[in-house]
């Protein structure tokens, strides 16, 4: 995983697929598994609960989710990273001075409705500790 990619190359890490949005998603308790198809090493972000709907597989840090159509479309997510880094979703672009939601490696939020990043994600990075300053 590299953390210094420019926006020009970020789009290559992105896969967007049409899919249902929140209304069609099953309740969080209905599923109990990591998302299938989420590549190893990626932060996988979905438009629907329980890893449904359109998705972005983010291998790098990304300052502007708007560049690939993911801005404020984040209902569930999963940190499938290999290293001990946390995945962190910021509610401001470019890691602005707002809040974030963080997940340790191998964990994820299948229902982000009570998370600050719920349909609010605008950038992401991969800190060693969740309280680290943003770096990309």
């Amino acid at each position: 995983m590299r953390y210094t990619k420019t926006l020009g190359t970020i789009a290559g890490a992105l896969v967007l697929a049409g899919g249902s949005m929140l209304a069609a998603s099953p309740p969080a308790s209905a599923l109990a598994a990591a998302p299938s198809g989420c590549p190893s090493g990626a932060l996988c972000v979905y438009s629907g609960l329980n890893y449904t709907g359109s998705h972005s597989y983010l291998q790098d840090c990304n300052r502007y989710w708007s560049a690939f159509g993911r801005d404020n479309i984040s209902a569930s997510w999963f940190n499938n990273g290999t290293s001990g880094r946390w995945s962190r979703i910021w509610v401001d672009p470019n890691f602005g001075s707002a809040n974030w939601s963080a997940d340790a490696r191998g964990t994820g939020d299948p229902d982000g409705r009570d998370r600050v990043a719920y349909n609010a994600g605008s950038s992401n990075d991969w800190p060693w500790s969740p309280s680290d300053a943003a770096a990309c």
Partner: protein, 313 residues
Amino acid sequence: MRSHRSLVGACLAVVIATAAGCSTPAALGPRSAPNGPTSTGPLPRALTPAEDARLLYAEDLIVHACMARSGLRFVAEPLAASSRPAAEQRYGTADIAAARAHGYGYSETPAGQRRADSTSADPNEAYQHTLSPDAQRAYETALYGTAASRPQVELPDGQGLVIATEGCVAEARKRLYGDDLRGYLISQHVTANLEGHIAQDVRDSKAYRSALGGWRTCMANRGFSFATPQEARQGGETAAHKGGRAAEIRVATADAECGWDHRLLATAVDLEQDRFADTGPELTAWIREFRSRRLAALSKARELIRAESRSRG
């Protein structure tokens, strides 16, 4: 972008909305997770970044050995991190003596250690990208178990958290933090997100912003135009790379002296303690659980790292 939402659920909204009159018990309500920790007493201290880095290295040493049993490669490397309290990274430093002697510590990173920042390359990610799709899936299964084997556990706000209970990462976590992986990972998730939320709340507070204004003016009078201590720290790191140790120490010393003069860290720590006190007994119990398990794991980590050093001769 979206404006302020709660963090680990309605209960945590209390943290950011204390001034608005929210009450913790009502917010916790019937959605509280069952079987949460019940311990009481003062909160144990938080680990320093260097201690966190030590635990992560110990985790990775276990993962390395576990993956090797399956014939898979996983590199475990120590991370260089500050032995200063993590609060200094969040709010600013006030340790003038340490700043004069060591700067921020960037110039003293031992050879062979990765810097604990978000920009250094990760050898395991790079290795994984060289594997075929099938081999990548096998690698992921060895690390975390199959996707279907990862259960969803309930957080204190009633929401779910998907965790890995099989594979090498789970094995490492159990060895270091105990067999109750569910409890550990819930406590980790709650604590991490709550701490971040509280830190943002502290930085947004009137008292901290006032102290920050004084710090900024003080720094400007010394020739440094940083908006925040985080920027100063990054400036110190850049100075270390470009101008060496003396340049780093100049930034760090100004930062610490201005921080001390304007009580930047002291103000933040006071506010942070107030916010933690406002989270209520259930969340406090989870934080206590997390910190206690991490503190208890330090001696195991030290032994693992010592054994690794001995094996390398």
